[in-house]
């Protein structure tokens, strides 16, 4: 029988390699395919640059327009809160910084553990609220596909198991940590093949919109 230490070493070792390989392979195929496909040639004379307006739109669309906020304040507030929380917990928790440093060689300062802990708790609540809202709101429920629920679970589980491992709520610890790493690996493997690709494509799409505005000479 596999012991909890065997399990941890399996998730930290071979499974991690498989997960990052699938993730990098998948996400590069998707992105290169999109970029290399190209666009048909635009014969209209450009009325301005593209780069700066593109970046401007990437930034500006972080602010919801007033109409959206009035119609769906819950989605804007909760969506923003848990997205920021997820990114903070992912990138600024010291053990995560160590993983990134060891894997790609980049490092940056982290946040104190209690801060990340609080942010994680808020993120968990935000994700749960988002699911409840999705299930109870008739329009959202109608629009939701099975994939939406799958990616909710895939996103929620690493946060939950990370919280459990940090607080040592499950014993033995190697099992708790192994489960957390496993859920993170599922997230990585699923990412390139679902809506989670928005992590990479959302910025590209925004930039493209802004660049179009710039070319046409309208406000970006």
């Amino acid at each position: 029988m596999m012991s909890s230490m065997d399990f941890l070493l399996f998730t930290k070792g071979p499974l991690f390699q498989v997960a990052i390989a699938i993730f990098v392979l998948g996400i590069l195929i998707r992105l290169v395919e999109i970029f290399a496909l190209g666009r048909s040639r635009n014969f209209a004379e450009p009325r301005g640059g593209q780069v700066i307006p593109g970046l401007k739109t990437v930034y500006k669309r972080f602010n919801p327009d007033p109409g959206t906020f009035r119609r769906a304040p819950f989605d804007v507030v909760v969506g923003t809160v848990w997205h920021i929380g997820f990114i903070v917990a992912l990138l600024l928790f010291i053990p995560h910084v160590e993983v990134i440093k060891a894997t790609v060689g980049l490092a940056w300062p982290g946040l104190p553990n209690p801060v990340v802990d609080a942010v994680t708790a808020i993120t968990l609540l935000g994700l749960i609220a988002a699911l409840i809202h999705r299930l109870t709101h008739p329009v959202k429920r109608f629009l939701s596909t099975p994939e939406d629920y799958v990616i909710w679970a895939v996103t929620f589980l690493p946060v939950l198991t990370g919280y459990i491992a940090y607080h040592r709520l499950v014993n033995p610890y190697p099992l708790a940590l192994g489960v957390h790493i496993l859920t993170a690996e599922i997230f990585l493997i699923v990412l390139p093949f679902t809506k989670l690709t928005h992590i990479f494509t959302a910025v590209v799409a925004r930039w493209f919109n802004g660049a179009n505005f710039g070319r046409k000479g309208v406000q970006s």
Partner: protein, 370 residues
């Protein structure tokens, strides 16, 4: 008729007195043992009474693929301590590092102890052994393979104590690529209780604590999932670490000579495996309670856990994956680029083909077809 100068001690109590251990010193040891085993203080007199009356149990100590570090740990504990005397006082009938006898006489001592105490003796093993599938000649004693000696000796034993990570989990000999096909004692012995006292080496008092419990209650201690005594292996190093407040505050040493290291901050980023390691170092310490690795500024290596040699670099943070992630990333990146370009070429080709295959039709032509 030869008269013995000193009567042979019959019980532990006799022997302790003969060795000059005071009643007070002995009771202190019993109280410490009681607290170590998470028993109420009222149990200390019971332990004292039981140990006083305990007959010297016969112990056969088998050393297989080991470095003698476990024996060193035990014998180099502060001398003379009560732990040391307890060890003198168990009837250590065979221990090829410590015994005076050699060759046939030594092996004879083992056979005699097995014969005279059949069903009652304890077997202590340190070191792993070549498994049934590997060459038995890799490790032999007096021409007998470790596997055969273990099976023979354990057949009449009351219980087996696997001392050290090699005996408990395979340890260094079992580390990849495991050239000798090393296995742990519990991989071989299935029909007798096996208590694992892991550590590289284990804390000496943990070994004597297990023996004391056996002498006191005649039972084996409560064990965890790895068959280690809960009393000593029930809590992680991290949970009992005096540097834990720094972890909780997010204050870490990042090199061995930075400000954090000098101020005694948490060693997680320097590779401390404390969070996944279960042992008594943080509470019982080493060298007579002088210090322990983390207190001396070195991260915990996780030596009491299975496969700790293969669990990633000792100086890599615990979260860091094992293996060559860089090359995997490069290979996957190159593959992803190539496949992505291939996919886009396919897309372009499709688009061009669609364009070339496009036929213009007029409304008249369509009407004619209808």
């Amino acid at each position: 008729m030869a008269v013995p100068i000193r009567p042979q001690p019959r019980t532990l109590g006799d022997s302790l007195r003969q060795n000059g251990v005071s009643r007070r010193g002995f009771l202190k040891f019993c109280a410490a043992t009681a607290s170590m085993m998470a028993l109420p203080p009222s149990m200390a007199p019971a332990i004292a009474a039981a140990l006083e009356q305990a007959r010297r149990p016969s112990v056969i100590w088998l050393s297989f693929q080991e470095c003698t570090g476990c024996t060193e740990s035990l014998t180099r504990s502060f001398s003379p301590t009560v732990e040391n005397l307890i060890l003198d006082i168990i009837s250590l009938d065979y221990h090829h590092t410590l015994q005076a006898a050699a060759g046939d006489a030594a092996e004879h001592a083992r056979e005699q102890a097995m014969h005279e105490n059949a069903g009652n003796y304890l077997v202590v093993v340190d070191g792993s052994l070549p498994g049934p599938g590997s060459n038995p000649g890799f490790s032999t004693i007096a021409g007998v393979s470790n596997l055969q000696m273990l099976q023979e000796t354990v057949a009449g034993a009351a219980a087996v104590v696997a001392v050290g990570t090699c005996a408990a989990f395979g340890g260094l000999p079992k580390a990849a690529p495991n050239p000798s096909g090393a296995v742990a004692v519990s991989d071989i012995i299935k029909d007798k209780p096996v208590i694992n006292v892991s550590g590289c080496p284990p804390v000496p008092m943990v070994i004597t604590g297990v023996l004391a419990q056996y002498l006191t209650f005649g039972t084996l201690p409560e064990l965890d999932a790895y068959n280690r005594p809960m009393a000593f292996f029930g809590q992680s190093i991290h949970d009992r670490c005096y540097r834990r407040p720094f972890y909780d505050k997010g204050l870490f040493a990042e090199t061995f000579d930075d400000e954090g290291a000098r101020k005694g901050w948490c060693l997680y980023r320097l590779g401390c495996k404390g969070p996944m390691t279960y042992n008594a170092c943080a509470t019982m310490k080493w060298n007579g309670g002088t210090s322990w690795p983390v207190e001396s500024g070195h991260p915990c290596l996780g030596c009491s856990e299975p496969d700790f040699w293969d669990a990633g670099g000792f100086y890599n943070a615990m979260s860091v994956p094992v293996g060559d992630s860089g090359n995997v990333l490069l290979a996957a990146g190159a593959g992803g680029l190539a496949l992505g370009v291939g996919a886009s070429l396919l897309g372009r080709h499709k688009r061009a083909a669609a364009k070339a295959g496009h036929e213009t039709v007029t409304a008249d032509e369509l009407e004619q077809k209808l």
